[in-house]
């Protein structure tokens, strides 16, 4: 009988405890009492960066594009990026749309870093147009400089084999899987070896800007292909 009495008592207490907890929770729900600090989640909205480019005349002076060309460029730019700046994700997605078979995100990453000259994580229209100006209207020297800058991932003035391998892998990954002949895994590495054989004159394992410029200017193919996109705009 005692045990039964204990059971009843126990359950009674349990019942009362349940009631009390439920009512407290209800009051908390209704907002009448706050016993924990409400951590309001900071809205994770991206800071709506709005960037207006410099005036048309200024850009015209800085780059080698005419006013009309700048207008066309800006219209396309603003269409894709209404906020005025491109962040890396958008950049990757835009660039990937041109290469549907493969994965262009790696190469886009390097491109982004090449365009983002002030390294603030976003490419504004000025960066964009300055980069394009070099690529399309610059002298061969400037183009080669730009390419070197692209390959030199850590911007220390030397292209190491690892950096080149990264770049090469990125380029090859844009090809995708379905290629002819079938893409082998060490193709990038082989290509890097060839590149270094050609470029690295003093065989010190890195390619400096001088070696690079020197070698490229001697190579007819490269010189010719640099002129290829003269009239893209």
């Amino acid at each position: 009988v005692v045990s039964v009495a204990w059971e009843t008592e126990g359950l009674q207490t349990l019942g009362i405890v349940v009631i009390v907890c439920a009512s407290v929770k209800l009051l908390h729900l209704l907002g009448l009492i706050n016993f924990t600090e409400d951590s309001i989640d900071d809205e994770q909205e991206q800071s709506m960066v709005r960037h207006r480019p410099e005036a048309l005349e200024k850009l015209e002076a800085q780059t080698r594009f005419s006013k009309k060309e700048l207008q066309i460029l800006y219209r396309g730019f603003k269409n894709e990026c209404p906020s005025g700046v491109v962040n890396e994700e958008t950049f990757k997605s835009i660039y990937s749309q041109f290469f549907p078979q493969g994965d262009a995100s790696r190469y886009a990453h390097f491109l982004f870093n090449a365009f983002d000259t002030d390294h603030n994580g976003s490419v504004s229209f000025e960066d964009f147009v300055l980069g394009l100006s070099t690529l399309l209207r610059g002298s061969v020297q400037e183009k080669l400089n730009w390419a070197f800058n692209l390959y030199d991932i850590n911007k220390d003035g030397y292209i190491t084999k690892d950096e080149m391998l990264d770049i090469m892998r990125a380029i090859y990954s844009m090809m995708g899987r379905c290629t002819y002949p079938v893409l082998k895994d060490d193709a990038p590495r082989q290509h890097v070896e060839m590149f270094f054989q050609k470029m690295d004159k003093n065989k010190d394992g890195v390619v400096t800007i001088e070696e690079f410029l020197d070698c490229c200017q001697k190579d007819e193919n490269i010189m010719r292909s640099m002129q290829l996109f003269e009239n893209v705009i």
Binding site: V4, A5, E7, T8, L11, Q12, L14, G15, I16, V18, I19, A22, K68, I72, L73, R75, G76, F77, N79, E80, I94, Y95, Q97, F98, P100, Y107, F110, L111, A114, F128, G131, L132, L135, L136, K143, L144, W146, A147, L150, Y151, I167, M168, I171, H191, M194, F195, F212, C216, N221, I222, R224, S225, M226, L228, F229, N231, V232, I233
Partner: protein, 634 residues
């Protein structure tokens, strides 16, 4: 390549310079633009509203109308703009597609008009953006269902040459098709009601014999009830057998729910007949009688609401399952708690957990019979929690079921409303009048034209001719067109009255066909008959009749051509009558008839309509015995 980012293509090409130094092979030559145009604004005039955009914007999608050279067809030299005679509101969405790369579907737009515009401008609807695609698909599905309903209703119109079996099946499925079906429908309904009421009344105690307690009526008037039961079961059996006979797929019919209900409803009777002698199983037989109540489900053939309810419950099976599961969980939890809470109190009814189930169910559904009540404080606390949670748990899935039911019910309402509207004679009449308006005008002018000729011949007054010149240029061109068609087909337009008269006259007289019967599907070819006439000979309309868009109904079952034996003497006229619902009738006034069944869809707006002809012009008469072929389309 994604055309949406076409503006970035120059950038992508420029960035390709990054590959050059690592390349070992020479690059291919870049394509040069033949005529490099400066980007220019082009003006698109859509029904008066002018849209302007860059040419490059439109060139992003070269496989559409605006992006290709197809738009040059719409170029207006004088105003130097592209003119499209289309809906400017929908064009907004289409132009935005070029601008942003995303196609949106505006909600207020009618789905078929939107589809038409998309088709015109060469844009496939699949590229509608994710934001609007769901809505688009929903509306499209609704539209397709509606069209299917319409088609089914059209199919209801009697098809010729249905076998007896098919007729019966149709009569069973749609009682409205014929009077016999309706009678059958009501008779079965009546007998179902009678049977159910009999079953109910059987158990009512009626009148007590002095020595015993009240006997139920069933035992008092055994014979009467047995006769009633027999009669009902016989009707049901006959009905079931007829349905079984008429069903197009007997196996499928036997598996369907309604037939199972039918069988279950009548089986107890037959089992009872077989088993009355055996005393042992008669107890089981009594239980079988309970299945007679299933006869009430036969009413679901008669009541659409019942069917909808059943369909709803079926479609909400998952919600119901969830409800059941959550209820079971709660019942078990609370029953356990209540049992242990009430274990201590004396003379408690909560003798075991399953015994507490009853209390929990009664409490959760807020029934509260009061045969079991908790006495301890803990029991009362948990009991109240139980009843509160019961209200919540049951209230949650119910709105889902209700909304499902409501949606299905409204769909059915819509279908019914539409069907009712269709039957409305007024609407049909209005449509017919509007269609015959033009044809009447044509025939009127034709008659006047003939009259004019006659008048010319007789040299009558001029003023009668004047008031016939009121037809506008458009009308006269239309009339000219219809006239050309008549000349082409050597048939004429007559009005419906005359046509129906002819039908009645010569209906079904002669079935022998001398000439080969022609049947074609998808178009009309073939000659009707070679009837000699003074003016014209009748031909079936050749494909100049424009059989219509491929999606219309096209049935040309048989064209039987008959020639009468009489020497060809007189003229005859054939009439091209158009029923509003797309059946073209060819009618030749004839002494002998044929039956030809042709139904051609009338392409919207382009069909020649032929109807009422006034009194036949005196120069064209039919005489009996002409070898005229009447081709009637059903």
């Amino acid at each position: 390549m994604a055309a949406g980012v076409a503006a970035w293509l120059p950038f992508a090409r420029a960035a390709a310079i990054g590959w050059m130094p690592v390349a070992n092979l020479p690059m291919p030559v870049a394509p040069t633009e033949k005529n490099k145009r400066q980007d220019e604004l082009i003006v698109l005039n859509v029904s008066g509203r002018r849209f302007q955009t860059w040419r490059n914007t439109l060139d992003r999608y070269p496989d559409t109308l605006l992006g290709s050279s197809e738009k040059e067809f719409f170029y207006d030299e004088e105003t130097k703009e592209y003119f499209f005679d289309r809906d400017p509101d929908v064009f907004r969405s289409i132009l935005n597609f070029y601008r942003t790369g995303k196609l949106h579907y505006p909600r207020y737009e009618c789905i078929s008009s939107y589809d038409e515009e998309l088709a015109f401008f060469g844009i496939i609807p699949e590229i509608i953006g994710d934001c609007c695609y769901e809505e688009y698909k929903d509306r499209k599905r609704e539209n397709a269902e509606r069209l299917m309903d319409d088609q089914e209703d059209n199919k209801d119109s009697k098809l010729p040459n249905m076998t007896f079996r098919e007729t019966m099946w149709r009569a069973f499925e749609n009682p409205h098709t014929s009077t016999m079906a309706l009678v059958f429908y009501y008779v079965t309904g009546f007998f179902i009601a009678v049977s159910v009421i009999t079953n109910v009344v059987e158990t009512v105690p009626c009148g007590s014999s002095p020595n015993q307690k009240d006997v139920p009526c069933g035992e008092r008037y055994t014979v009467a009830f047995f006769c009633m039961d027999t009669a009902c079961v016989m009707i049901f059996t006959v009905e079931y057998l007829l349905r079984l006979f008429a069903a197009p797929s007997r196996y499928r019919f036997m598996r369907s729910v309604m037939s199972i209900i039918d069988v279950v409803a009548i089986l107890p009777y037959y089992i009872g007949l077989v088993m009355t002698n055996n005393e042992d199983v008669s107890g089981a037989f009594v239980t079988l009688r309970v299945f007679r109540v299933f006869r009430i489900f036969k009413f679901s053939r008669h009541s659409q609401g019942l069917r909808i309810l059943g369909y709803t419950l079926k479609s909400c099976a998952s919600e119901l399952g969830f409800l059941l599961f959550s209820l079971t969980m709660a019942i078990i939890i609370f029953a356990t708690v209540m049992f242990y809470a009430e274990k201590g109190s004396t003379s408690s009814k909560f003798t075991s957990i399953p015994a507490s189930f009853w209390y929990t169910i009664v409490t959760m559904t807020t029934l509260g019979y009061g045969d079991m009540v908790p006495k301890t404080i803990a029991g009362k606390i948990f009991g109240s929690i139980c009843s509160l949670s019961g209200v919540l748990v049951i209230a949650l899935p119910v709105p889902v079921i209700v909304s499902n039911f409501s949606r299905i019910y409204h769909q059915n309402q819509r279908a019914d409303k539409r069907r009712a509207q269709k039957v409305q004679k007024a609407r049909l009449a209005r449509i017919r009048i509007s269609k015959t308006g033009t044809s009447n005008a044509f025939l009127h002018s034709k008659r006047n034209g003939l009259l004019n000729e006659a008048l010319d011949l007789t040299g009558s007054t001029e003023d009668e001719r004047h008031h016939n010149k009121t037809t506008s240029l458009l009308e006269s061109q239309h009339h000219h067109l219809l006239h050309c068609l008549e000349k082409t087909t050597n048939h004429e337009f007559v009005d419906e009255h005359l046509y129906e008269q002819n039908c009645l006259e010569g209906a079904l007289q002669n079935y022998t066909s001398r000439s080969p019967s022609l049947s074609s599907s998808g178009g009309l070819t073939g000659t009707c008959c070679s009837r000699r006439s003074r003016r014209k000979s009748a031909h079936l309309p050749n494909s100049a009749m424009s059989p219509g868009p491929p999606h219309g109904l096209q049935e040309l079952s048989a064209v039987h051509i008959h020639r009468s034996d009489r020497p060809p003497l007189s003229t005859s006229r054939s009439s091209l009558n158009l029923m509003p619902d797309e059946a073209m009738r060819l009618n030749c006034k004839s002494g002998q008839i044929t039956t030809a069944i042709i139904s051609i869809p009338t392409p919207p707006g382009t069909t020649p309509e032929g109807d009422g002809h006034g009194p036949p012009s005196p120069s064209v008469q039919t005489t009996a015995g002409s070898s005229v072929v009447k081709v009637s389309a059903l």
